[in-house]
C-alpha cells in the first residue's frame, strides 16, 4: 500500500505544473496559498461515499473536511495531500469540482486561540467567506480560511505574529 502511495505521489509531480498554470497552486510569490478542493454534491444517498472511495482508491489522504448544505445539495470542502490529483480523479469520476485558494493558520489549542486570529482579520477589515478547523496529533489546532482579500490577510496575520502554514507544510501534515 505504501509503495502505491509513493507511486501516486510521484505521478502528481507532473500534474502540479498544469494546476500552477491556472494560478491556484502554491507558488513562489504566495507560498501560503493552499489549494482547497470543493465538490458539489446532490443530496442523495451514496454520493459522499463515492467521493471518499474515489479518493481512497488513488491513495489521497484528507487533512480536513467540512460540508455546507442546503435542502437540495451540499458543498464538500476538503484539504488533501495532493489537490491536483484529487481534482483530476474526481473530475474524471463525473463530479463537479472547483479549486479554491485558502489559508491554513495555526492557532493555540486553548480558549481564545481562534478569537485572537479573528480579531486581527476584523481589525484589517477582511471578510471571511467561510472557516473550518481541524486538529492533528500535535499541540496545535489549524483553521482553514476562505477570505475576501487573501494577500492583505497574509500581511495582517504575519504582522500580528500568526503562523500561516505554507502549501508544502499543509500537504505534508
Amino acid at each position: 500500500m505504501s509503495a502505491q502511495l509513493r507511486n501516486q505521489a510521484g505521478a502528481h509531480e507532473g500534474s502540479q505544473a498544469g494546476a500552477t498554470a491556472h494560478g491556484v497552486s502554491p507558488d513562489a510569490a504566495m507560498p501560503h496559498r493552499v489549494t482547497g478542493i470543493s465538490i458539489f454534491l446532490e443530496n442523495k444517498s451514496g454520493r459522499l461515499a463515492q467521493v471518499t472511495q474515489a479518493l481512497a482508491d488513488v491513495g489521497i489522504n484528507m487533512r480536513a473536511l467540512c460540508i455546507a448544505e442546503t435542502i437540495d445539495y451540499g458543498v464538500l470542502r476538503i484539504i488533501v495531500n495532493d489537490p491536483a490529483l484529487a481534482k483530476r480523479v474526481l473530475t474524471e469520476g463525473g463530479f463537479t469540482v472547483t479549486e479554491t485558494n485558502v489559508l491554513v493558520v495555526e492557532i493555540e489549542d486553548r480558549p481564545g486561540g481562534l478569537a485572537r486570529v479573528i480579531k486581527v482579520l476584523a481589525a484589517a477589515q477582511i471578510n471571511i467567506e467561510y472557516i473550518y478547523a481541524f486538529l492533528t496529533r500535535s499541540e496545535k489546532a489549524f483553521v482553514v480560511f476562505r477570505l475576501e482579500k487573501l494577500e492583505e490577510a497574509v500581511r495582517a496575520l504575519q504582522a500580528a505574529g500568526v503562523r500561516i502554514l505554507t502549501g508544502a507544510e499543509v500537504y505534508a501534515l
Binding site: F40, D72, V75, T96
Partner: protein
C-alpha cells in the same frame, strides 16, 4: 336523478335537429365573416376553394382547414381580429413571453354571449338571485375572473370579486358574507378548506352549496374530497380564452360530463396525428369552431385537450353533447395553478442566462391540500460552481426571478449534478408530472 336547474332551458334543451340546423346556419355565417374580414382565413379558405355557401351540413366542417395557437402567435397581437378596434371592448391574453402570448378580443356582442354561457354554467348548479358568489379566480388578463363575474351578475347573484390569494381572508369573507357559491381552481378549493380547518372553522357548516371549479385538470378523487370537506356539489367547468374563456362547457348536477354550449361552439374530436375525426366514443383532440364570435372567429381551432364526446342524452334533459373530463394534452403544455406553461418558455429563459446549461427538468407536484408546485431542476456546471454558498444561492435566485417574471407563477429552482438529468435520444424528457391527474 339529481335536481335539474337551467338558466336558458329552451336553448339548452333544443331538439337536436333544430340545434344542428342552427349550427349549420351559423357555420356558414362564420365562414363568410372569416373570409371577408380576416386576411389569414381569406387566403387559406380561398386556397382550399371554400365558399360560405358550401356549408350545407355539419359534415362540410371537415373540408375546412385547422387553426392553431401558432396562427394566433404569428399574427400577434390583433392580426386575426375580424372587427376594427373601435368595436373591441375587451382584450384578454394568456400567459407567455412577450410576443408569444395568445391575445383575444371581444365585441360588446361577444361579452353578451360570454355572460350568457357563463350564466348557463352557473345556472346548471342552481346559482340564482340571492346567492353570494365568492369568485376566487384571478381577475386580470386571465379570463377566469371576469368570465365568472359577468355570468354571476347575469343570473342576478351577488358577486364577491375577491380574486385569488389571501386564503385566510377568503375564509373570513366566506363566513362573514355567508357565501353560498365558490368559484376557483379545484386545488385552491382544497387550500381554502385546509385554511378553514386551521382557523378552527367547520366550512361544511357555513351554508356553501355549490362550487364551480376549472382552469386546471383535476380528478374524481379531488371532487370527492372537496365535496366532503366543504359539503357542496363540486362541478367541473371548461373553457379556453381562444374560444371565449370559461363557459364553453359545464357540468350539470348529474356530474357525468360537461355540456358544451353547442349553439355557440361547435365541437369535434380528431386524431391528433392523422387529424381525421375519431370514431364515436373514442378519445382524441378537441377542436372548436366558434359559431357566433364577432371579434375573433376561429375555425376548427385545435385545443390540444384530449377528451371523448358523448352524444347520449343526459338525464338532466339538455340536448347538447357532453365532453368527458379532459384526460390529457396532445402537446407538452402544463397547467400549473391554472396558468398555462410550455416547457419551451422555461427553456428560452434558461438558455438566456449566461453559463447555464440547457439541461433542465420540470417537476410538477400537488401535495394533499396544497397548490401545484413547479420545480425547475438545473444542472450545475464547472464554470457555474462556486464553493461559496451565497454564489450558488444567487444563481438559483437569478434563474427563479427570470422564470417567474416570464411565466407569472412562482417556481422553485433546484441545482443538480451534471449529467444527472436523463438525456434521451430524440425528444428529451423535460417534464415529470407527479400529480397523477390523467390516470
Amino acid at each position: 336523478m339529481a335536481q335539474a336547474f337551467f338558466w336558458n332551458r329552451d336553448v339548452e334543451c333544443l331538439p337536436r335537429p333544430e340545434l344542428e340546423q342552427l349550427q349549420v346556419e351559423r357555420l356558414r355565417r362564420t365562414v363568410a365573416r372569416a373570409i371577408e374580414r380576416v386576411p389569414l382565413y381569406r387566403q387559406r379558405l380561398t386556397e382550399a376553394g371554400i365558399k360560405p355557401e358550401d356549408m350545407t351540413s355539419l359534415d362540410d366542417l371537415r373540408r375546412l382547414p385547422f387553426t392553431t395557437k401558432d396562427d394566433l402567435r404569428d399574427t400577434f397581437p390583433f392580426g386575426m381580429f375580424a372587427v376594427p378596434m373601435e368595436q373591441v371592448v375587451r382584450i384578454h391574453a394568456s400567459s407567455g413571453t412577450t410576443g408569444k402570448q395568445t391575445v383575444v378580443g371581444y365585441t360588446r356582442g361577444d361579452l353578451g354571449v360570454w355572460s350568457e354561457v357563463m350564466a348557463r354554467t352557473l345556472g346548471a348548479g342552481g346559482t340564482r338571485a340571492g346567492d353570494r358568489v365568492q369568485n376566487a379566480y384571478g381577475y386580470g388578463l386571465f379570463t377566469g375572473g371576469l368570465g365568472i363575474h359577468y355570468g354571476a351578475e347575469t343570473v342576478g347573484a351577488s358577486v364577491i370579486p375577491i380574486s385569488g390569494g389571501q386564503t385566510k381572508r377568503q375564509v373570513q369573507i366566506m363566513q362573514d358574507f355567508g357565501t353560498t357559491v365558490l368559484c376557483c381552481t379545484p386545488s385552491y378549493a382544497l387550500v381554502i378548506a385546509e385554511a378553514g380547518m386551521e382557523m378552527g372553522l367547520d366550512l361544511s357548516k357555513l351554508g356553501l352549496r355549490v362550487g364551480f371549479f376549472g382552469a386546471e385538470p383535476w380528478t374524481e378523487g379531488m371532487r370527492a374530497e372537496i365535496e366532503a370537506k366543504l359539503a357542496i356539489d363540486a362541478l367541473d367547468i371548461y373553457g379556453l380564452s381562444e374560444i371565449i374563456g370559461p363557459g364553453v362547457a359545464y357540468e350539470c348536477l348529474e356530474k357525468s360530463g360537461l355540456h358544451i354550449a353547442e349553439d355557440h361552439f361547435l365541437p369535434e374530436v380528431i386524431d391528433p396525428e392523422s387529424c381525421e375525426p375519431v370514431g364515436p366514443g373514442e378519445c382524441g383532440e378537441l377542436v372548436f369552431t366558434s359559431l357566433t364570435k364577432e371579434a375573433l372567429p376561429l375555425i376548427r381551432y385545435r385545443t390540444r385537450d384530449l377528451t371523448v364526446l358523448n352524444p347520449e342524452p343526459c338525464a338532466c334533459g339538455r340536448s347538447c353533447r357532453r365532453m368527458l373530463r379532459v384526460t390529457g394534452r396532445s402537446d407538452d403544455m402544463l397547467i400549473i395553478r391554472g396558468v398555462n406553461v410550455f416547457p419551451s418558455q422555461i427553456e428560452s429563459v434558461i438558455v438566456g442566462i449566461e453559463g447555464v446549461a440547457p439541461h433542465y427538468l420540470l417537476v410538477v407536484d400537488r401535495k394533499p391540500g396544497k397548490m401545484d408546485e413547479l420545480e425547475v431542476w438545473i444542472e450545475i456546471s464547472e464554470n457555474l460552481f462556486s464553493d461559496e454558498m451565497k454564489e450558488l444561492e444567487k444563481l438559483e435566485q437569478v434563474v427563479r426571478a427570470e422564470i417567474e417574471s416570464t411565466l407569472g407563477i412562482s417556481v422553485r429552482v433546484k441545482l443538480v449534478e451534471p449529467k444527472s438529468i436523463a438525456r434521451s435520444e430524440g425528444k428529451a424528457k423535460r417534464v415529470v408530472d407527479r400529480r397523477e391527474l390523467f390516470k
